[in-house]
């Protein structure tokens, strides 16, 4: 599905990614974890073509993404911070994205599910963080693409919406889609993900299932397993 070879990225003097090799197979939920500044978002943005790598190759569905934009029809992306043009109304934004990307009817269902109907005619600049995140989720899930990338999807969501998000992720997974998630909420990751990729200082430190990680670190639970990687490496 996604194959990354020898990926390097530097921002000024700051080496963010230092030789990442990663293969993501079709189907299932993969969580990308790592401490702040470990390069999670840079990795995701490289897949999306928003960050141009210094070295290395990325291919999505067997095609090299360099100088191409059409492959993004295969990707639904949820950005980390929902920064929308503040003078647009929610309805206009949804309409605009549909206009740019293609027709869909999924949006009505999602708007209903996240209880966004009263906000449709409000300007995006006046919405609360959580409501913006819900709009963000609608925009991401309204298209039926085989690869879904979610950067911190739980930010600002209330418990009901969180349950809905988890259901949504499961439904999409059952359709055979590949879902890439980054999150700092360990319980959320443990609950939803099939496999985790742990980034540390721009390299992949661990790739495998959660039980494998627990055995490797000799820790009884997931949160402590992650913590032990971090303390052992930064001690």
């Amino acid at each position: 599905m996604v194959s990354i070879q020898n990926l390097y990225k530097k921002f000024g003097k700051n080496q963010v990614l230092g030789g990442v090799d990663l293969n993501i197979d079709k189907g299932g939920i993969i969580a990308v974890l790592g401490p702040n500044g470990s390069g999670k978002t840079t990795l995701i943005k490289s897949i999306l073509g928003m960050v141009i790598p210094n070295k290395g190759d990325i291919s999505v569905m067997g095609k090299n993404i360099k100088h191409s934009s059409d492959y993004r029809y295969q990707i639904d992306y949820l950005p980390q911070i929902a920064n929308f043009p503040s003078n647009l109304k929610v309805r206009e934004l949804i309409k605009m994205i549909k206009d740019l990307r293609g027709h869909t009817t999924e949006d009505l269902q999602l708007i209903e599910a996240f209880k966004l109907i009263p906000f449709l005619d409000k300007k995006l600049g006046n919405l609360s963080g959580g409501t913006k995140q819900k709009v963000n989720l609608v925009l991401t899930f309204m298209f039926d693409s085989p690869l879904i990338i979610l950067d911190e999807p739980t930010t600002g969501l209330d418990p009901i919406s969180l349950i809905q998000l988890k259901q949504l992720i499961q439904t999409e997974k059952n359709k055979g889609k590949t879902i890439l998630i980054t999150s700092h909420i360990m319980s959320f990751v443990e609950e939803v993900s099939d496999e985790i990729v742990f980034l540390l200082e721009g390299k992949i430190y661990f790739k495998g299932t959660i039980p494998e990680l627990k055995t490797k670190t000799n820790q009884p639970d997931f949160e402590h397993a992650i913590a032990s990687i971090l303390t052992n490496n930064h001690a």
């Binding site: 960050v51 141009i52 993004r72 920064n83 043009p85 003078n87």
Partner: protein, 260 residues
């Protein structure tokens, strides 16, 4: 690209500043006509205003729009759109809405005054064409500055400096050079000097068309002597086109290599 252009254009059309800009030109046109009562004199006054003001507004609006629509741009970048169409669309959206404010704002009062029955119609059209070129050029330069500077304050600073340099300082330096080297033949130098500054070029172009030798100045006179009036107009128009194309090409190449 057309879709992006459409959204940027309507986004700007809804903003208060487009109306302020439009209203300013409307007022300027009306006042000039009533105070002057002479169409060709009004055109000359307008030229002096346009040549300084249009570049200023173009640079400021260009830089401001780029920084303000950062979120919109990031949203678009994750969509299946080419970078060239995103940035070209936004650039044209800004440049065309500014040009429209200019053309409508100045055009309406002149049309009601009886422009179509007057001889000044070609002078006036050339004025609007030059104004549109200046908008296209300076908005493109502003986008270049904004693309190269992540820091808003720096970007604004450079934009203002660029305008100040081309609108005022350049002429000063140019004049000083002419005085310093007056013993040498300066025809070619002053010709090149005029071509290198779109503001000077526009002024020369309009004055050539108006055929007012007294206002042409040294460079204008050289220009006229070298190219002749009609060929001079063609040469300066072509140079203005080059002035649009070069910065636009840099927008395209710069945006291709940028990280977001």
């Amino acid at each position: 690209m057309l879709k992006i252009l459409k959204y940027s254009f309507f986004d700007l059309m809804r903003s208060r500043w487009s109306y302020v800009y439009f209203a300013f030109y409307l007022l300027l046109g009306i006042v000039l006509l009533f105070l002057n009562n002479d169409l060709s004199k009004a055109v000359i006054t307008l030229m002096n205003v346009i040549i300084v003001l249009v570049p200023l507004i173009g640079t400021i609006f260009g830089v401001m729009y780029y920084y303000n629509s950062k979120e919109f741009t990031e949203l678009l970048l994750a969509q299946p759109l080419r970078r060239s169409s995103i940035f070209l669309g936004q650039y044209l959206g800004v440049a065309l809405s500014l040009s429209m404010s200019l053309i409508l704002g100045l055009g309406l009062p002149f049309v009601f005054y009886g422009l179509f029955k007057s001889n000044a119609i070609w002078d006036f059209s050339l004025l609007l064409i030059t104004g549109t070129f200046l908008t296209l050029i300076f908005t493109a330069l502003a986008f270049n500055i904004a693309l190269s500077n992540e820091n808003k304050i720096k970007g604004f600073g450079y934009a203002i400096l660029l305008w100040l340099f081309l609108a005022i300082i350049y002429d000063g330096i140019f004049l000083m050079t002419l005085i310093l080297f007056e013993d040498y033949p300066l025809d070619k130098l002053s010709l090149v000097g005029t071509m290198l500054n779109p503001i000077d070029l526009s002024r020369t172009l309009i004055l050539l068309k108006l055929d007012i030798s007294a206002l042409l100045g040294y460079t204008g006179a050289v220009f006229k002597q070298f190219f002749g009036t009609s060929f001079g107009i063609i040469v300066s128009l072509i140079t203005l086109v080059v002035w649009v194309i070069l910065p636009v090409l840099r927008i395209l190449s710069k945006s291709k290599r940028k990280d977001f």
